[in-house]
Amino acid sequence: MPKFYGKELESSLMLGTSLYPSPFILREAFKASRAGVATVSIRREGVTSRSGQKFWSHIRELEVAILPNTAGCHSVREAVTTAEMAREIFQTNWVKLEVIGDPDTLHPDSFGLVEAAQKLTESGFEVFPYCTEDLTICQRLVDVGCQVLMPWGAPIGTGMGLNNIFGLRSLRAKFPDITLVIDAGLGVPSHAARAMELGYDAVLLNTAVAKAGNPVEMARAFSLAAEAGARAYLADAIEPREMATPSTPLIGQAVLD
């Protein structure tokens, strides 16, 4: 089971809280997913609507760990200030650190990410950086104190799955003791299973569940898939090979020609 900065959770699924058709479906999807972590954001509060206070009343009922994000931040300063505000609001040192470099692909600004991760770690934050599978950047993130890495599978919201299996496998091999989470890009449960089969500790998703025709059923499917993948990894799968090898014994076969 995944361990995040000393806190062990019973589920390898982390779920976002955005884009659901209704608060009721959000709650039912969380129940079906058995997710142990909910990601949230901070946005301007409506003075008359007080929509943030209403949203929080729904989220606190979920009774899961809260992981605030810095979504939408394009600079180190913005991301650090957002993290500071989120810490006061949610009373947690956890922060899903996003520093976006490219507006079309939402590719992280890897340089800004390392700088922001360092500043936040020095201020007592426990940083979950949204990164890519770049080994050098990930090493830098670990060097500045990150104990969790969250490489994308594919760009946020695309549902393309794991675009770089080789890179993700290399990352797992390079950092055997770091908690690794696939964050973003998953579309169907088999993507989650595949990530877990690679030895990843958890998967974080939102759009694939919230925008499915039946979010609750999709949440349940992702939960089962993540569990299947995790069990398969522990069970030590066979290596693929190119030549066939019969599974039925050849010895004792009757001669019938």
Partner: protein, 65 residues
């Protein structure tokens, strides 16, 4: 005086950030505040003097992925 509050002009005649939050009935709400891009922690709200033209951002929990 006129300040910018969450991106809109706002007429404010109080003194401190706490005065502003009280006026908006947000003193006990689950919010955080930044003034001119700098985070202002809860403990500093009583002493931070709001000045004309200040950009005040008041944020709260929202959905996120």
């Amino acid at each position: 005086m006129t300040i910018m509050m969450n991106g809109e002009s706002y007429e404010f005649d109080g003194v401190t950030l706490s005065d502003l939050l009280a006026e908006l009935q947000l003193i006990n709400a689950r919010i955080a505040v930044a003034v001119n891009g700098d985070f202002v922690c809860r403990a500093e709200r009583n002493t931070l003097v709001v000045e004309a033209g200040d950009r005040v951002e008041i944020v709260a929990p929202q959905a996120g992925g």
